[in-house]
Amino acid sequence: GQQVMQIPQYQHVQEGEDFTTYCNSSTTLSNIQWYKQRPGGHPVFLIQLVKSGEVKKQKRLTFQFGEAKKNSSLHITATQTTDVGTYFCAGENTNAGKSTFGDGTTLTVKP
């Protein structure tokens, strides 16, 4: 079946440093979504990428979808303590009817 892998599993940064998490799929994806889960909370949708090579920005967050639509990344510039949480990618195969979540990258930020 489809596998979605995320690296790293954990990332500890000093406030102000940058952060990147990577998502890789074993199959070509029709779309990829990113979610953020704060400690003790539930996943909250951040963004969806659909097109090959697509890049989207949300303030300090930059999301990319690979040319082959098998990988994606989330980059945070100048992290803040409010960025703490676990970031998940979720990829869907064409006509699969469901997405597969990666295991997430947990970000901690030291003030």
Partner: protein, 112 residues
Amino acid sequence: NAGVTQTPKFRILKIGQSMTLQCTQDMNHNYMYWYRQDPGMGLKLIYYSVGAGITDKGEVPNGYNVSRSTTEDFPLRLELAAPSQTSVYFCASSPLSNQPQHFGDGTRLSIL
């Protein structure tokens, strides 16, 4: 709008007991999902439904059952609780499979 509502928020069960986790959404979404999240881990799909009357297995369906008699409700049933089912259970919904999922607050279940 309430979005996705899960009850109960917390529950402790004894081994062998059964229970139903409730999930209701008021957004008229076709798709609904049940996930489990073990401590420090990602989301594993248990069951999902593409519409009323239709359900399908996810990655980890063993030990669980679901039904979808209405668009709004998607209950998850544990028949014989086992310690391995201790987890946080999230229900989610989306209009279509390729659209964002809205999650409930989760049910924290411990089986002792």
